[in-house]
């Protein structure tokens, strides 16, 4: 009987070689110098649960981005109307999707509407309404436009977060958008997760606001201050005791200058007090504005506000031209460095909320790898011994198939750039048990056929043929669930599904083709009376 086992053996050997090549970067470190060119250099990726690190899921509060843009529109309209000498009583955001302009009479409305239509063609103008002798004009941002803005906010947030992480310095971070308004961040091997999370999650909206000196801040409450003022707090941490003190500051609601106008921010150390501060540079618009504002307000206090916290409120001693300024406050060197990073990377278009934070320390990961390895080796040993005793020589062939399985699986994981997680290791251990199953089915069938009096070779052929469908059926059903797990699972579970699906497919190959070729090659060359089974 001639069987084309040359191609089968070639296939097996090619796969073994390929697996070894792909596994080399994982097993050999450092790689030898001749290992270059097209040869793979990627190690098997370890999931965060194995190498330690932080996995974050954040939600961008996109509604706030829409509201923020309405605030901007209101401020901008206020300036434009003033510049064109169009009289109005008040302009402000109304609810979550409108800007309301209050005018003195219907006569002035035409000019205003014309201006609005020209500047903001996307806004809907609602019919005028009268209220207590004034005329209200409402501008509404329509659903579609709001959606566009929300979408842009998430994209921008993603970009900003990426910038911040790049500047913070994390190797191989994963930053991606998930669903409509979620952002997933993975920081492998990070040492100080708390600091990184603070850095990523900070909105970092920098504003320069004039302090309203006419109001007594110490007795002020949110209700008692003028409408265009706001009550903020300056937090100070005593470096010696760690006690936090809050000083109230009343500022104008309108920001004179914002962080968008920055070009650079760097940490510096004050040589006199040995205190860190952040030196900032404005762009030309920012520099001009800063020059104008400081010139007009010498002697007044200028509050530097980040995310509604006053960092400091120094007195403007003289006009500041040249476009550089400094932010000082009671912060540590780390705080100042992080502040510089967020200012350089820009502010988030909307606040983000952390929905999920999974942090695994490196020691636990190491521990998991070690234990997974031990469990795997013991599993292999148990199965090898059992198969050897129960099926003798044939059992050893099945064991060889199992080892092949593991080599192929690891090679495939490396080649596909798949991520190995702790449940993934569990899947491999489980596969050790499952991979000999196909051979058990075949061997039992062979035993039956031999009891019917067939020759070893005929029994072997019948065994493989008759067990074939059973093996296919059982593998397909297992594959169905593995595929579903892959589809819906995230992180560790996905790792499990990847290992399991690959393992099932590889197992089909080794049990139906690889172990069989060994039997065929042996039985064709050696004439045996009975199989060792």
């Amino acid at each position: 009987m001639t069987k084309g086992y040359t191609w089968r053996i070639t296939l097996i050997v090619v796969f073994i070689l390929a697996s070894c090549v792909y596994l080399t970067p994982t097993l050999v470190a450092p790689l030898p110098s001749w290992w270059s060119g097209l040869l793979p250099k990627d190690k098997i990726h370890l999931g965060l649960d194995l190498q330690g690190g932080t996995h974050l899921v954040m939600e961008v509060e996109t509604q706030k981005a829409v509201e923020g843009s309405l605030d901007l529109i209101a401020t901008d309209l206020e300036d434009s109307l003033t510049a064109q000498n169009l009289r109005f009583k008040r302009i402000g955001k109304l609810g979550s999707d409108k800007v309301q302009l209050t005018l003195y009479d219907r006569g002035s409305a035409d000019g205003v509407i014309k201006l609005v239509k020209k500047k903001y063609p996307d806004l809907e103008t609602l019919p005028l309404t009268d209220e207590g002798g004034f005329v209200n004009l409402q501008l509404r941002i329509n659903e579609k436009e709001a959606q566009v803005r929300k979408d842009r906010a998430v994209a921008q947030a993603l970009e900003t977060i990426r910038n911040r992480i790049d500047q913070f310095g994390v190797s191989e971070p994963i930053i991606q958008r998930e669903g409509i308004n979620h952002i997933v961040v993975q920081l492998p091997g990070i040492k100080d997760p708390k600091r990184a999370i603070e850095l990523i999650g900070k909105t970092a909206r920098l504003e320069f606001k004039l302090v309203d000196e006419t109001v007594n801040a110490t007795t002020a409450t949110a209700g008692s201050i003028p409408e265009d003022d706001e009550l903020l707090f300056e937090k100070k941490t005593d470096p010696a005791t760690g006690a936090v003190s809050e000083t109230p500051v009343v500022t104008k609601r309108k920001a004179m200058i914002t962080g968008d106008l920055l070009t650079d921010a760097q940490i510096r150390i004050d040589s006199q007090y040995n205190q860190p501060y952040v030196a900032i540079e404005f762009n030309s618009t920012g520099a001009r504005l800063f020059d104008q504002v400081t010139a007009a307000n010498v002697g007044k206090r200028f509050a530097i506000v980040l995310d509604s916290n006053v960092y400091s409120a120094p007195v403007i001693r003289e006009r500041i031209s040249g476009g550089s300024a400094q932010i000082s406050g009671s912060f540590t060197e780390k705080d100042a460095a992080d502040l510089a990073i967020v200012l350089r990377a820009g502010s988030l278009p909307a606040p983000v909320k952390i929905l999920q934070n999974v942090t695994v320390g490196p020691s636990l990961g190491q521990d998991s790898i070690r234990k997974g390895l031990v469990a795997g080796l013991i599993g292999v040993a148990l199965v090898v011994v059992f198969m050897g005793i129960y099926y003798k020589l044939c059992g050893m062939v099945a064991n060889l198939g199992m080892v092949l399985n593991i080599v192929y699986l690891m090679g495939a994981l490396a080649a596909l750039g798949a991520t190995l997680t702790l449940p993934g290791i569990a899947a491999i251990v489980l596969l050790i048990g499952m991979s000999v199953d196909s051979n058990v089915l075949i061997f039992e069938r062979i035993r039956e056929e031999m009891k019917l009096g067939k020759t070893p070779h005929a029994a072997l052929d019948a065994g493989y043929d008759k067990a074939f469908l059973t093996i296919m059926d059982s593998h397909v059903t297992a594959l169905i669930t593995a595929a579903v797990l892959f589809q819906f699972g995230t992180g560790p579970v996905k790792g499990f599904a990847v290992s399991l699906s690959l393992g099932i497919i590889i197992n089909l190959f080794t049990s139906l083709l690889a172990t069989r070729v060994l039997f065929d090659a042996f039985l064709d060359r050696v004439h045996v009376k009975r199989l060792s089974i």
Partner: protein, 302 residues
């Protein structure tokens, strides 16, 4: 070597006992599912939302001392578990009044303050907001439904309808059994358990398919013999391979359970239960159902 020689056990005849046992297990499993969907079982924080931390101390810390320390700072609803190996402490909190992202820090500060002489490192910390948990719940239900549907379709295509029903009932039985065991033992219901359940759903079919294949083969061969006899003979014929295949997987799962570490301890436990129940169900649940069904028309005619 052969573990079992030729056996001749009346498996189908034992169905009265086995159906009662399986019925009870399934009932507990259904109660477990109802309790889980009500959130009354021991839910993992991936479903309920909350915080869990694993701290590794330098010296042993009793759960009692830790509970008192946390309670003094206002954290009262806390699940604590001590892992003797390596002075580890598991802390789990479902609901939190402080926002997500703060609880873990808060716990760390409390522990630093309360156990100043016993420094610790945070081995892992997980905080999950309630919205994620809700999404995960619906995703999970979807996954379970999808894989069940896929299995039914495949078996219905490969075998006939009666076998399909038998296989699905047996698979459902195994899923319910794992849930029943977890519910009774008050073990945590989390994403890894769902993964284990789905894996077992796929695996238990392997056993069922092996038995069914043989029954189908024998049904074609011996059309004259009584149905019960054909079924019994088939099961007896494949008994040793059913046991051996399960045994190899059981050994691997055992190794995971004993040596795989605490993170996948429960996961491996679910696999162990699943392998046992899956083997039992293909013999004592799936086959008798099909046998009864096949027999029914014959008896009606007679």
């Amino acid at each position: 070597m052969e573990l079992l020689g030729k056996t001749n056990i009346d498996f189908i005849g034992m169905r009265k006992i086995s159906f009662v046992i399986s019925g009870i297990i399934a009932l507990i499993g259904i109660i477990g599912i109802i309790q889980i969907s009500r959130g009354a079982a021991n839910m993992g924080i991936d479903f309920s939302g909350g915080t869990s931390m694993q701290l590794k101390f330098t010296q042993p810390v009793t759960t009692l001392a830790a509970r008192e320390a946390l309670a003094r700072e206002g954290l009262k609803e806390v699940d604590l578990q001590e892992i003797k190996d390596g002075n580890k402490l598991l802390i789990k909190m479902r609901k939190s009044t402080i926002g997500t992202g703060k609880v873990a820090d808060h716990v760390q500060e409390i522990m630093k303050k309360e156990f100043p002489a016993n420094p610790f490192i945070v081995e892992s910390s997980t905080e999950i907001g309630p919205t994620i948990g809700e999404k995960l719940k619906s995703d999970t239900l979807m996954a379970v439904a999808l894989s069940m549907l896929g299995i039914i379709l495949y078996i219905a295509w490969r075998f006939d309808f009666k076998f399909g029903v038998g296989a699905v009932v047996a698979t459902m039985h195994d899923v319910l059994a794992i849930i029943a065991v977890f519910y009774v033992c008050n073990k945590e219901v989390n994403l890894l358990l769902v993964t284990a359940v789905l894996t077992i759903a796929g695996y238990s079919l392997t056993d069922t398919v092996v038995v069914f294949d043989r029954i189908r083969e024998n049904l074609h061969k011996s059309l004259k013999d009584p149905i019960t006899q054909v079924f019994n003979r088939s099961i007896n014929e494949v008994l040793s391979r059913t046991i051996v295949t399960s045994f190899t997987v059981f050994m691997a799962a055992c190794s995971l359970f004993l040596f795989g570490g605490e993170v996948i301890h429960d996961f491996a436990f679910a696999l162990l239960v699943g392998v046992l129940v899956g083997t039992y169900s293909s013999i004592f649940v799936a086959s008798p159902i099909v046998a009864l069904w096949e027999k029914l028309p014959a008896e009606v005619k007679a």
